[in-house]
Symmetry: C2
Subunit: 513 residues, 2 copies
């Protein structure tokens, strides 16, 4: 058995049965091993940022890591942006990267690059295999690292000779350390602050955004008259009827500061105290008041649900009914607005839908109007690296077993980063409806430019405008095997959305906004 075969056996023993891939020559022995050993579903992405973004979406919905298979050096580099997003989502990924044979590397052949150096900033764990005999053991540790709470990227670099040499030994799955239990002192402190102080905000992130956690946070807040909010960018929020009508910290700096100015105490549940996505001249970097006290109920690696359970018990907080979001809205009509699109979505999405949201500037109003939708999951771009939404939607569809409708709310400029995702959706016949929010410009940047103090002139617009020529999303989608149609009104968009949800296939709606 060679090293590559021991790797595949070990991944399967460790419960990793899906591999998102774009291999090259140095990975051919691994490809051959995948071919010979049954049990791994291999999904091709036509560029590595599709591959890594799919692995992120897969984890978010399945809560288990997929493997990636990336080509040495530049292949990894192509996938770094979505690994960055995955790191910020705290997704677990077994990130397998081929490399030059150990003895070939010193010769500095054309494709030789600093694979390990590029991997390190996005990885919680990095190891370069150096011996076929140890590849199995290395892989078992990689899976363990990827699954260690809250989830992290474990990069295993596989020089070609460690794949092709004989002597591979499959390793058994290693135990996954359970999430750290909450600190009783932190629970007592949070309870005391909630009971005794005014203007306390419970800020939820990560696992704290699952429905169970929301219900517990709501009980704690109701019992003490305090408030609950979600972080700005979240890997996965369980939403819709039966969940909390949770709002997020807003993205625009002035709105964020305004929304948090009342806070005297901040209790963090698997969350981070809010800071700006970017700095702006003369504006604070931290978005909560300087005088606010920050209390950590649970850190990322801790079990936030257990922490909230302990908090509720410490408070003796009674059961509290979730607030009623009101009736399910009707689909909206007329010219597309963010609120209208959100109502259409709330009206028409099937129960159990997954929303992959890379709507950028257009999407800031979506949240509020979808509280009364059926239960669904909402996935966001977590690291700000655009080009996340389409691969995320693709991977989420696979992670959810292909049985749940994915609706990708997708800004056009960001879509052009990873449009190749559509081809994988067509090949795998995934139930993904992409709604391209087609404004034919980098609208968020035009807004940022205006913040700088002027309207963009011709040179600036040459870098901010996506017209000239206009992108034709119907042809782009059709070129990759995805059926598509254009909508200029919300009723057209709603009809196309409903129609696409009835088919077990991908579909793209270009919504002209």
């Amino acid at each position: 058995m060679n090293g590559a075969e021991s790797l595949v056996h070990t991944l399967l023993k460790s419960g990793v049965d899906t591999c998102f891939a774009n291999p090259g020559t140095s990975e051919m022995h691994f490809v051959a091993a995948l071919d010979r050993i049954p049990g791994m579903r291999c999904v091709l992405g036509l560029q590595e940022n599709i591959v890594t973004g799919m692995a992120d979406g897969y984890w978010r919905m399945s809560e288990k890591p997929a493997a990636t298979l990336l080509h040495c050096g530049p292949g990894l580099a192509n996938g770094l942006a979505n690994l960055h997003n995955a790191r910020r989502a705290r997704s677990g990924i077994v990130n397998i990267v081929g490399d030059q044979a150990t003895y070939h590397r010193p010769l500095d052949a054309q494709l030789t690059a600093d694979t390990e150096g590029w991997a390190r900033p996005v990885s919680g764990w990095v190891r370069t295999a150096m011996d076929a005999k140890r590849v199995g053991a290395d892989a078992a540790v990689a899976v363990q690292a990827a699954r260690t709470a809250p989830g992290q990227i474990a990069t295993l670099i596989l020089p070609a000779d460690t794949a092709w040499n004989e002597g591979g030994e499959p390793a058994e799955a290693l135990p996954v350390p359970p999430a750290t239990t909450p600190d009783p002192h932190a629970v007592k402190t949070a309870a005391r602050v909630l009971r005794e102080k005014k203007n306390v905000l419970i800020l939820l992130g990560g696992i704290g955004l699952r429905g169970e956690a929301q219900a517990l946070a709501w009980r704690a807040a109701q019992a003490t008259g305090q408030r609950v909010l979600a972080e700005m960018s979240n890997a996965r929020v369980e939403r819709g009827r039966g969940r909390l009508q949770l709002e997020r910290v807003p993205y625009p700096v002035d709105m964020a500061i305004e929304s948090l100015k009342w806070v005297e105490h901040l209790i963090l549940v698997n969350a981070k105290a809010p800071v700006g996505f970017f700095a702006y001249p003369g504006k604070p970097s931290r978005h909560y008041p300087e005088t606010a006290e920050v209390h950590v109920l649970s850190r990322y690696e801790e079990d936030g649900i257990a922490a909230l359970q302990a908090l509720v018990e410490e408070l003796g907080a009674p059961e509290a009914a979730m607030p009623d979001p009101g009736p399910r809205p009707d689909p909206a009509r007329g010219a597309p607005t963010p609120e209208g699109l959100a109502r259409t979505l709330a009206a028409l999405m099937p129960e159990g839908s997954i929303v992959a949201d890379e709507s950028v500037s257009f999407g800031r109003g979506f949240y509020k109007e979808t509280h009364a939708a059926p239960p669904h999951d909402w996935l966001q771009i977590t690291g700000g690296a655009i080009g996340c939404g389409m691969p995320l939607a693709t991977g989420a569809a696979i992670g959810a077993g292909g049985q749940r409708r994915v609706i990708n709310l997708q800004a056009d400029g960001s879509a052009m980063y990873t449009l190749q995702s559509l081809w994988t959706q067509a090949r795998e016949k995934l139930p993904v409806t992409t709604i391209i929010l087609s404004n034919r410009k980098y609208q968020i940047l035009i807004g940022e430019y205006q913040n700088v103090g002027a309207n963009p002139g011709p040179t600036a617009m040459s870098m901010l405008d996506l017209g000239n020529p206009d992108l034709d999303w119907l042809r782009l989608a059709g070129g990759m095997g995805v059926e598509a149609a254009r909508a200029t009104t919300l009723e057209q968009c709603g009809d196309l959305l409903a129609q696409s949800c009835a088919q077990n296939a991908p579909f793209l709606i270009e919504l002209v906004i």
Copy 2:
């Protein structure tokens, strides 16, 4: 004057007047400065690997650096693969990357990443600006570094506050150190080896592949009865009538070893002794005989043309007429073959064409059949990171002033990495004819798989086949504003090529092979 304005003024003073860009929020003050200060041509790429690949092509044809403008962290990461190729081409690029404000970085906002760490492996020079007052001086050093022979990537990281703070001071252009003059000892050694030894190969790379250098190398070889060859992957070769009928070291390992097995002495002119692109089990990593002696006539940073001139003088080698390549071929007919396509190209390409070659497996026979074409330049993928050809063609068209026809011989799998290039070609109305070599598979990898010892089974083919669904290149090109047509025979391809060369616009031919 703010830091960003001092940066733009300094770039213009230093002769940098073209900026390939995809900015984000942290670069908005730089965008505003470009807007206010006339003189910089800004060219938008819809993903950063387009941006960096264009800057590479621009340098190869113009021999001066362009600036890039990339977004912090993940934006840079998206462009690393083509920076890797540019590094291997030894192209000069002033690689400007925005970043979080200096005081915001420690807060680890979502988009914060290890910008400097990612830049370092591809850069010859890296600096993070820390003060608006110093940005001008930093930029002048960056341009000097980019232009230092043979050319290198100089990465200047620009935290947002160093762009927006006042106190910027434009800096004057710094002198560019001339390429190091050749070592007289190396010249004497090379002359002695050429005169006294048998089986000597002069291997040309870099500047040694310009027409002038070829003529000198040919004189030296003719005077001593020795041979001349080019490296396998070259940034730019001047070719066609009046140039040497130069062959390259072959890519496949067995062919490379066979072609070099006679070599007893290797004289390197801005080249590297040949090693395999990859290692293969049981095959040597070095492709020249172990017993061969290696002599360096000129290193990368040295003036190879001056070194060859000195060599010719040392040898007292007489003028030598370039061998006649024979008559210009007629266009080929019938089913597409590599040789037939190359003959069609040689028959129809306008004088002064630029060939951007990312033909991968199909293109290995192109070189031999194009010696009798009119004078032209041939650009290759130098670092092996696929997705180079289309941005390279785009940037080369701009670097050549928009007056020369660029013909991009483009493998389909690689094309899907950076297809967004077509949009920039349409927007800038560039004279680029893309010939997609559409075999609907990663053919090179299927060959590599078979080398591993078997035919690929269904799982392997799920990662190596690009069918299911077939990519429709006419729709993909049309979706980005580029006219396109399909050819299934060489005469159709020839007709479309000739027609496209008569228009000052991009065109795409899907050649079904």
